[in-house]
């Protein structure tokens, strides 16, 4: 093993490698084993105070390790093989014995320390190149102790930045529906590690289509809790809520524009659904479609000038794009007779959607001009509800391939499929937030 090999592999990853998944982690089911990824060791944090040891040390390392495994770019080496112990090692190049890391096959090393300053947790985390014996990046995070998850996700994103030139997607949240606690689908939110999963509605009735505000602080969702399917805007931290659209009939699939000023949703008028735009006070801005066919599921382009939606104006449901200022809608999908659930990539170049194919449902993506259709899932079960990661390199979706409907993550090429949620009940309709900052 030489530095040249190391640089070569890094270059390879940067240049061509699609995300590949490393060998199995505890919660992860890997459908594409045997791929080669970048070997990295992630040591538990050193307790710099020597005071009472919190679970911070391993929690940080566990979350970084899981994120990097999810990314598909890394193979996280088993901690039990690590020779160097955090408590007897330092955090600098000089205080690190790199031979102890190269001998177990690590090409990169993550280590760091934590201390408590009053009520605040301070974490210093670094990544080293094991062969070149140099620091690649270092960050110091400060905040309340319960922010340890976010600090770990932030550092995973930083590692992704260093290795791929693009920030990772992990300092973000996912909202979804689940009936894990009862008969009805309620709205949940969680970090990518799932450890802080929180139920944010408990109304024992039908809830559908949760989505995030662009600042990832508020949720839009539709609920039948007052009889009619109305659109609500909820702050999950304060539980403050307002009802934004309450026209008799469906008020469905609300999505906030990238600048947060406007909400596109599907509103029913006596049996017929069209897309309308409203402001955050709930006032009508514009009727964006006017058709006797079904028009649902708006998804904004990242510049906010257009949105994709689903319409059956040509017979079966297909994906269309129209400008927010009006104009003629342009059909995007031309293959298959049942295409729904468009999700516009934050990179702007592709739209993910669900297509019915030989009685099964799978995730596809297509360029916004309708060319270059890619099949992302090839499942015996049904895969639905695609939503892009904030960096546009991954999709979260729901699938029944394991029996119950659960959330899964795929890379944008469809090479690896990793199960994200486990447990009771069905999980569906995931929506991935933007970054939390």
């Amino acid at each position: 093993m030489t530095a040249r090999w190391n640089r070569l592999l890094l270059l390879l990853i940067l240049a061509v490698a699609p995300p590949r998944l490393a060998s199995a982690q505890v919660h992860l089911q890997v459908l594409d084993p045997g791929s080669r990824s970048y070997p990295i060791a992630i040591a538990p944090l050193k307790n710099l105070d020597g005071g009472a040891t919190k679970d911070v040390a391993t929690k940080f390392a566990d979350i970084v390790a899981r994120d990097l495994t999810l990314s598909g770019f890394f193979k996280v080496l088993d901690r039990s093989a690590y020779i160097e112990k955090p408590e007897t090692s330092g955090l600098t190049v000089e205080e690190t014995n790199f031979d102890n890391w190269s001998v177990i096959g690590a090409a990169a090393l993550v280590k760091g320390g934590f201390s408590l300053e009053g009520d605040n947790l301070v974490i210093e985390a670094k990544m080293f190149d094991v062969y070149q014996r140099k620091q690649l990046t270092g960050r110091r995070y400060r905040g309340s102790v319960d922010l340890v998850r976010r600090m770990a996700h932030r550092f995973a994103d930083e590692i992704m930045q260093q290795f791929t030139g693009e920030r990772g997607p992990f300092d973000s949240r996912i909202t979804f529906l689940s009936n894990r606690e009862g008969r009805f689908k309620e709205v949940y939110v969680m970090s990518l590690d799932g450890g802080d999963m929180q139920q944010v509605t408990k109304n024992n009735t039908i809830n559908v289509s949760p989505s995030w505000s662009p600042d990832a602080r508020q949720l839009l969702y539709t609920s039948y809790k007052r009889g009619n399917p109305d659109l609500y805007l909820l702050d999950p931290l304060t539980s403050r809520e307002s009802r934004l659209s309450q026209k008799a009939g469906l008020n469905l699939g609300g999505k906030m524009s990238p600048d947060g000023s406007t909400i596109a949703l599907s509103v029913e008028n006596d049996g017929n659904t069209d897309i309308v735009l409203i402001n955050r006070a709930g006032d009508l801005v514009r009727r964006a479609t006017d058709n006797l066919s079904i028009e649902v599921s708006p998804s904004w382009s990242p510049d906010g000038h257009q949105f994709a939606f689903c319409s059956n104006r040509s017979g079966g449901p297909q994906i269309y794009v129209v400008g927010t200022e009006g104009g003629t809608a342009r059909r995007v999908t031309t293959t298959g007779d049942y295409n729904t659930s468009p999700s516009w990539s934050p990179k702007g170049d592709r739209i993910a959607y669900v297509s019915r194919w030989e009685s099964g449902f799978n995730i596809f993506t297509v360029k916004t001009d309708g060319t270059d259709v890619r099949q992302i899932t090839q499942s015996s079960g049904n895969c639905e509800d695609p939503s892009w990661s904030p960096d546009g390199r991954y999709l979260v979706y729901s699938s029944t391939r394991g029996g119950k409907r659960k959330l899964w993550i795929s890379d944008a090429q469809g090479i690896s499929q990793v199960q994200l949620t486990t447990g009771n009940g069905d999980d569906s309709s995931p929506a991935w937030s933007r970054w939390l900052d």
């Binding site: 559908v208 009889g227 399917p229 009939g249 469905l252 649902v296 729904t340 019915r356």
Partner: protein
């Protein structure tokens, strides 16, 4: 389970008519021998929290039977139209109370699209009842999409049962 639904539905319909002061006419079937029917109700397909009326308002023999639809279709077939003609005649004889038409879908396909499809199914029945002379102010619609299935098996038979318009009799 089907039969259970029918007799309970009949009972609820009878109670609903009694409450609105209408005499029981053709099509209502209380418990056997006119006695009190008392049977367990399967919770699948009922939504206590959001239903404004009572339980199911239709029976197999009653005036407003469930209507069936094809996959991704909201077209009323001949059987549905015939059923709605009977329903309209019954509603003209029984002039009190309103009818809410619920549109439902099978589990296949997308939640939002199916909610919109259910709205179309409900509207199709409402429109036909209106053309048959039932006043518009006695008719309302709501779509439940694929959210309230009658059955949960992944079979053609179950999917066919779930693709339906369902009628609920409400008070004035």
């Amino acid at each position: 389970m089907g039969k259970r639904w029918l007799s309970v539905g009949g009972l609820v319909l009878m109670v609903a008519l009694f409450a609105t002061g209408c005499p029981s006419k053709k099509g209502t079937k209380p418990g056997k021998d006119g006695g009190l029917g008392d049977e367990p109700v399967d919770s699948v397909g009922s939504l206590d929290a959001t239903r404004k009326g009572g339980g199911p308002g239709s029976t197999k023999d009653g005036p407003l039977r469930d209507l069936a639809f094809g996959f991704d279709s909201y077209e009323l077939d001949d059987a549905a139209r015939a059923s709605l003609r009977e329903g309209a005649a019954w509603l003209k004889d029984n002039t009190k109370g309103r009818v809410e038409v619920e549109g439902h879908c099978d589990e296949r396909g997308t939640v939002e699209y199916n909610l919109a499809l259910g709205a179309k199914r409900a509207r199709a029945a409402k429109d036909y009842l209106a053309t048959l002379g039932v006043p518009n102010d006695r008719l309302s619609t709501i779509s439940y999409g694929e959210e309230l299935p009658l059955c949960t098996e992944h079979t053609d038979d179950c999917w066919a049962r779930n693709r339906r318009d369902h009628f609920v009799l409400l008070g004035d």
